[in-house]
Amino acid sequence: MMADAAADWEALLSRDTDAARLRRGDLDALAVLLARYQNRLYRYLLRLVRDPATAEDLFQQTWVRVVEKIRGYDPRRSFEAWLFAVARHLAIDHLRRRAPESLDDAGPAGTTESPAARIASAEPGALADLLARERVELVAQVLAELPLIYRETLTLRFEEEMKLEEIATLLAVPLSTVKTRLRRGLEMMRRRLENLAGESPWQ
């Protein structure tokens, strides 16, 4: 128990040290931080904007903004939370520039046939293998189709594994709002999963 706590503390200090080194203009620290957060940051952006090309563009913009603003970063704060806040601002600005009607209604780009439809047309022998793979696609599709405020909260909680307080700080909303969004998001997701796939594919 003590060893775990010490390891956690050490990891936290190391992260802070890297951020502090970046603040002093250390290029190696940039490489370390980029490698550490690249997948999580990209996933978060992709969940927000739903388009891989846009997410990659925002990914680049985020890191450029980070190095531009690093002098204003308070080392006492979590670098992770600060990084995600920078990314979030850029993504929200991008979404606001888009046509309002497409802000939350559009599904992910390039989807022509739903996973449920593919399951229905699959050969019986391949069905078992297909189900596992399709289930993941189905869940990803349903998550992508949720309104922004719900898919963002769900991805921060379940994929990024952020604490509720961290999510509240990042989104600048009260803790109760985070809980409400989590509950409604999950309810919406389950309802859509059941509508799309009936009982079997996701269970």
Binding site: L34, V178, R183, W202
Partner: protein, 159 residues
């Protein structure tokens, strides 16, 4: 079994799947689930919902984008620090100019009229001359700083 307890459990199950319950809420739910088969079945569905979300594969940016990002952000980092160093240099130059301006005025007075003349400086119209002389020094230093900054930005293609 209380109807209220059953309804409360149904409402809280999604939050339980998200690990967002307070300790007392969690205890109440656990007690209820132990004796309510319908809620226990519901809980399994919500739990699965949460698990599916946690197990979604993590999409990754292409290595090319990561490499390009590192190059672009690295270049911007160097640029930002160069700009900062230049700014610090200009402010230091301004500070030195200001100090020299004040210092030289006193030194000139000491050399030409001795200590009493330097003391006289702070009486009568002496302050006015100091202010005018200092302001002129400041303006000149600011112009020099602006010219230097502009030349620097132009040389780096930023202007």
């Amino acid at each position: 079994m209380a109807v209220n307890e059953h309804e409360e459990t149904q409402t809280l199950l999604p939050l339980a799947a998200a690990g967002a319950l307070e300790a007392d809420e969690r205890e109440r739910i656990e007690r209820h689930l132990a004796c309510c088969a319908a809620c226990a079945a519901e809980w399994e569905r919500w739990r699965l919902c949460g698990l599916l979300l946690k197990r979604l594969p993590t999409p990754q940016p292409s290595p090319l984008v990561v490499k390009r990002t590192q190059a672009r952000a690295g270049a911007r980092l160097r640029e930002a620090f160069d700009e900062h160093s230049t700014q610090v240099g200009i402010w230091l130059a301004l500070l030195v100019a200001w100090t020299l301006t004040l210092g030289s005025w006193v030194v000139v007075h000491v050399l030409t009229g001795g200590i009493p003349a330097a003391a006289d400086l702070f009486t009568g119209n002496g302050w006015l001359w100091v202010a005018a002389y200092t302001a002129a020094g400041w303006v000149l230093a600011a112009v020099a700083g602006a010219v230097l900054g502009r030349r620097y930005r132009t040389s780096r293609g930023l202007a």
